[in-house]
Every structure is written in C-alpha cells, then in structure tokens.
C-alpha cells in the first residue's frame, strides 16, 4: 500500500497492539462478571462475620460492620427510616456505617444485585415493582426470620419479640415449603371503604351495610352529582379485587381465601366468589368508564374534591393524601357491606393484616445486622416514630399509647375494636404467584367496567389458577392459617 499517509514502523505497530491488549484486559474481567457467569462462588457465606452474642446483641452483630438498608419510597416515604430507625440502630452500634437507599423500583434495582450476590442487608420489599418473594425464597435468597421473633424484645428483654406484636404478624410473612417466616410485615393495615365523614354527615348518609343499601345509597349519591364508588383502573385495579375477595370471605369464610392461595381445585368457582363478583359488578355500573384510564392519585384527588363518595383502599390512604386533603375533609373507614343475610361473617368484619414487608437477604454481608435492624424497628420507640411520620399503625402492640391519632386512624381503631375476632385474612397469592395476580388485575377491570360477567370472571380466574398450578417452573407454596 502506498496510500498510507505515513509509514508505520514495526515498533509503533507493536505499541498499538499492546495498547489494545491493555484495553481488552479489564473488559475480560467484565465478561466474567456477567449474568450467566454461573456458580455460587459469588455468594458470600454469612456465618463467618458474626461476633459473639449477648443479651443486648442476640444475633452477634459485628459492631463495626456496615449496614445497607433499601426502603421503598412510596406512600410512607423513607423519612421514618432515615430519621428514626437508622439513627436508633446507629445508637446501638456507633461504629457501623449505614448506607441508605430510598427507591420505588425495588425489583428493577435489586434483581441484578441478587443475581450477582452483592445484596443489601435489609430490603423493604413493597410497591407495584416489588421483588417476587416466592422466587427469592425458592432460590434460598432470604433469611429465615425465626431467630428475630424468638429474640428478646428491646423494650422488655423478658418477652420474646413475637409476643410484643399483633397476633398473626409472624404467620403473615410465611413462605416456602415447609413454611417459615421470611418477611416481617410491619404495618398494621385495615382495608375497607373510605369516605369523608363530614360529607356523609352533611348529607345525612351512613355507609351502606348491605349491597341492597349500597344500591339505594348509590342512587342518592348520583342525585347529588356524586359518584357513589370509584377506583383507578389504570394502575390500582387491585384495590377493587381486594373488595371482591373481602366480600367472598365474608360470604364463605376465610377458607375461600385460603383455597385461592393454595390453588385448590375450583377455588375461584366457589359460590362465595361468584356472589361477591356479582355484587361488586353491580356497583361497578355506577362508575364512569373513564375511571379505568385514571391512576390512583387522580381518583383520590377527586374524592378530596368531593366528587366521589366511597373509595376502596387501606389505612395508608389518609397519610398518602395528607398534602391534598382540604380542611374540613375527615377520612373515615367503613367495612365492606354484607352480601346476604346468611354471610358467615358479620358486617363488622374487616380485612386487617400486617403489611409492608421487610426482608433480610440471606447472602448479604451483614445479615445479623439486618435482623438487629428489624428488632430495632419492633421497639416501641421506633414504632411510635413510624406512626408519627406516616400516620399509620404498626404491628407493635401499645406503641401508640399517649398519642393523639388522626381521624382516619381513630376510625380504623374503632373498626378494629368492632370487628373483634372477625378478621378477614390477607391473600398471599398476590406475592406468591405474580402471574395469577396480573391476570386478576385484568379480569377485575373487565368485570368492574362491564366487559365480562361474574361467571366469566370466575371461569377466567380458575383457568389462570390452573395454569399456575400446572406450571412446573413456579415454586408452589401453601398455608393453613
């Protein structure tokens, strides 16, 4: 070649090749750390980093071990962690560095980290993009929390942690087969129909106690140009399916929901589910079609503006809407109406459950610290701070002593008292079987906005449940309580 502008000497050539090798060097290292590099060598073993245990340090946390906490920054924000829980941990272990991350896309952010073995020590697994709990348990990625619940409580070392929290909390975090507690559900959440007590007072309304009353009420509300009931189909159709499931449990008892969780044959074809779906589809007819295209905050704002009477949600609603709630708007919660006189549970029954999960990854660098962080969270001081920051109750018994509760929380406490032992159970399939849950969202919108009948709803859901059951790639789980 004579067209090369300058002659390149052999030495220059070698220099250039050497430069290439230098660039290639780190790249090869990159390749070996990719998703399919295989082997479990990436997962550090938890045991060796433990220190000696003591009464105040029951898990043997190394005092200078750093702790990484990931909090779902949603309705509760993450100030309760940064301003209370983390400082409380730091008080116990002043030498420990705490790395905090408040995010919304839990799954997208943490999935690659689980794959590579570099995981945080505490994860608040929540929100619409939460990690698939069943898959994590199946892969041995989560720590069994039994030692936490058996450990002495911070407030009263003579008591075990499990005896200082609302009964049912430990079981609500069960997973795997055999079932063990892998998740600490921290927030005491009650579900029902939320309304503005002042608006009802002004119009002389009371929340409907039966579906017959619900229809009469709906007509009355329509007469006042108020939408009687609405939910956001675009991103919160699960608020509506909760109502259907609660009604199904009220009709047929908690077994109906246990059967659904256990993928029992024909669980969705049960009469109770059909009746509940029929009843709610009737109420759906009072909703404008446009609600299917709105998101939850848009619908909640409409309720704050006095355009919607009843809105299905949980006890986080009041705090979530705090900024948009006008003066004179007083949140209150009522149980879902009874479907028939032969319902197994009374009208007063509510779904109340420990919710908002916290997990400790099994292969983190400081799993003992993770357990200790959860133990700190379950102290009265931490629980009280949480309620103050988020206007939500925790599972810690007696943590609100001496506090003035907001109107919404006061009504939750009243509903809790009225319900007594009549508690509708939570649904675990929501986290166990995400495909089934996705299908339920679709079918709920189709039912509530009048595209399918209750019979089709049950048949479609049964088909999806059967598909999940037959899918060998999905880890099956079961529950008995």
């Amino acid at each position: 070649m004579t067209s090369t502008p300058r002659e390149i000497t052999r030495r220059q050539m070698i220099q250039r090749v050497g430069l290439t090798a230098l660039v290639a060097g780190p790249a090869v290292g990159l390749l070996s750390s990719c998703a399919t590099s295989g082997g479990d060598s990436a997962a550090p073993s938890a045991a060796p980093s433990a220190a000696a245990t003591s009464a105040t340090n029951p898990f043997g946390v190394k005092t200078d071990a750093p702790l990484e906490v990931v909090i779902f920054k949603g309705g509760y924000s993450d100030e309760y962690a940064t301003q209370s829980h983390e400082p409380l941990y730091k008080k116990e272990f002043p030498q420990a560095q705490i790395k905090h991350q408040g995010i919304q896309t839990i799954s997208q952010t943490l999935t690659p980290r689980f794959a590579s073995g570099d995981v945080p020590d505490v994860v608040n697994n929540s929100g619409t993009d939460m990690l698939d709990g069943g898959a994590l348990i199946g892969a041995g990625q989560l720590l069994d929390l039994t030692p936490l619940f058996e450990a002495p409580s911070i407030d009263d070392p003579s008591k075990k942690v499990k005896d200082t929290i609302v009964p049912g909390t430990v079981e609500s975090g069960f997973g795997g087969d055999p079932a063990k507690p892998y998740t600490l559900n921290y927030v005491y959440t009650a579900y029902g129909l939320w309304y503005d007590a002042k608006m009802f007072e002004k119009n002389g309304w009371t929340p409907p106690k039966t579906f017959e009353e619900f229809k009469t009420f709906a007509e009355a509300a329509k007469g006042k140009n108020i939408v009687p009931f609405a939910y956001a189909g675009k991103n919160a159709s699960y608020y509506a399916y909760w109502m259907i499931l609660i009604s199904a449990a009220k009709i047929g008892g908690n077994e109906v929901l246990l059967n659904i969780d256990n993928l029992a044959d024909n669980a969705w074809n049960a009469d109770a589910v059909k009746q509940a779906a029929t009843a709610w589809a009737e109420i759906g007819k009072y909703m404008d079609k446009s609600y299917e295209g709105l998101i939850h905050t848009e619908v909640q704002t409409q309720q704050n503006q006095g355009k919607i009477a009843l809105y299905p949600s949980g006890s986080w609603l009041e705090s979530e809407q705090a900024k948009d709630t006008p003066a004179g708007f007083e949140y209150a919660m009522s149980p879902t109406p009874s479907v028939s006189a032969s319902d197994k549970m009374p009208y007063e029954a509510i779904r109340a459950a420990a919710a908002e999960g916290y997990v400790v990854p099994a292969k983190g660098k400081n799993p003992q610290g993770g357990l200790e962080y959860l133990r700190v969270m379950l102290s009265k001081e931490a629980a009280k701070a949480f309620t103050e920051k988020t206007k939500s109750l925790t599972v810690v018994v007696g943590a609100t002593e001496g506090m003035t509760l907001s109107p919404g929380l006061t009504s939750v406490v009243a509903a809790q008292t009225a319900a007594g032992q009549n508690v509708v159970t939570y649904s675990l399939f929501e986290t166990w079987y995400k495909e089934l849950e996705t299908e339920l969202r679709k079918q709920t919108n189709a039912l509530m906005f009048g595209r399918i009948s209750a019979d089709e709803f049950c048949a479609n859901m049964q088909k999806a449940a059967d598909k999940t059951k037959a899918d060998s790639s999905i880890n099956k789980q079961s529950r008995s309580v």
Partner: protein, 311 residues
Amino acid sequence: MRHGKLTPAALRKYGFVVSFLAVPVLLYVVFVVWQYIQAFQISFTNSRGISPNFDYVGFDNFTRLFDDEVFWAAVRHHVVLLLAMPLITIAIALFFSFLLNLGGGQRNGRMVGVPGSAFYKIVFFFPQVLAVAIVGVLFQAILRPDKAGVFNSALGAVGIGPVGWLITPSLALWTIIGVMVWQAVGFYVVLFSAGMASIPKDVFEAAALDGAGRITLFFRITIPLLWDTLQVGWVYLGIAAFDGFALVQVLSVDRGGPDNATTVLPLEIWRNAFTYSKYGVASAMGVALFFMTLTFAVLTLRVTRRERIEF
C-alpha cells in the same frame, strides 16, 4: 497486493486499520453482542434472574410461548404496528416534506416550498427532541378519558362526549399508534427533505417545463429519486414498530391493557423478567423478537430493492 500473504506492507495496512477499529469493536462486543449471546443462552435455561444457579431446559421456554395467549396478542399487535405505523408515518412525512421543499411551485426559475417552510421544518422536528417518556406523560394528559383530557375537553366544546382513547379495547392500540406517528413524523420530514434537496433541481424544472403538475412531479420524479431514503426510513420505522415499550408502559391501562389490547413484546419481556422472575421465558421472547426484527429488515431490503438511479 495479493491476498493471503502477510507482507510488511499488508501488516502495516491492517495494523493501521486494526488500531482504529479495535476499541469500538471491542466495546460493541462487550456491551452489545455479548448480551445477545447471553440472551440466547439464558433462553434455554430456567434462570429466574435472582440467583446465579440455573439448569438447561432445552426448548421448554419456546414451547411455552406457543400456548401463551398474551405472547400471541403481543405478536398480533406488532403485525398491526408494522403494517400501519411506517405507512402512515411515511405518507404524512412525504406529504409534508414535498410541501416544504417543492410544494410552492416555481419562483425565479427555482422550485420552492410553501411560504414559511423554514419555520415549519423546525416545528415538525420538536417532537423528536422530546424524550419518549416525556411524550408519554404529555399524552397522558392529552388523552385523559374524562372531560379533563385535552382532546376530550375540545371535543366536549363541540358536543361530542368523552372518548375513551386508551380505555376502549378496540381503540387503544390505534391511539398509541397515533402517538408513535406524531413523534416520528418530524424526523422523517427532515430526512426526506434532505433527500429531496439532493435531487438536482433541473430535473424538476425540466419536468415542469414539459407541463408536469405537482402530483405528477411527486409520483414520477420525487418518489423514484428518493427511493433509497424511503427504504432506509421504512426499515427504521419497522424496527421501531417492534418496540413501543415506553409509550405502552406509560399510557396503557395496567401496562398493556385493557384486556391485553395494547401489549407489545418488549413489555412482556420486561414483565416476565421483573414481575414474574422468569428470565428464561423473557429471554426466549427476546430471541423470538430478535428473529422477527431480523426477518423484517432482510425482507424489506430484498423486496424493495430497485435499480439505483444515478444522478
């Protein structure tokens, strides 16, 4: 220079070329090609993406796709997108760029665009500057299904009831196609304008002297001489029709709804990977998508191949 012999001259030539190409090719291999290879590998495993351990399961993930109605719904939507979106976009873009460059007729013996075309060119390009997520959020407000939506409040002013742009299953996909077209048109107006600018003006002038009207000019002169650019545009838009993730994710009811009416493969890949933790299935979908895109690109280039007109 003969092939196969490593003469010092050849060494010098290739050494020079290699030294320039090594870094970009290496980056491309590490950050693009390698991921493709990994996706092929993962598609044959039961990987859940949350643990480095997995087993090979053969073609299980692919056979699973055959029974998956959501997968087929997504594939059907890509067919609709592929037929409609490029055609509509190119038609509108061609029409606009013709008006902007040649639509004004002759002035001082030269072909010019309609008055104000320099201004329009910039305006048409605006949507291209916006990130697709911003376009999504903008249209969320524009397409709101109640009377508060921009379109619906305008329609309400002339007495037409609110239209459920994104909540009516038969309308939702077309609404999203409309947004995709809106976003793409500007770029292709500019692309085709550049193509038209490179066509020698005397060709048009000669045709115009012979009495050709604007329509004849457009179909007999502009399109044949613009064929290469059109072909490129078609391939680009076709590949874009295999995406649609961001807009569907932001705009549609419950991500792909109502009733799967708007779902697309990238969204289902995302859902299988991040919601269901089925990385194997997600990768199998990705592999299917890879072959669909490749087939489309090859077919388009083959079918539309014409003799190039030199000018």
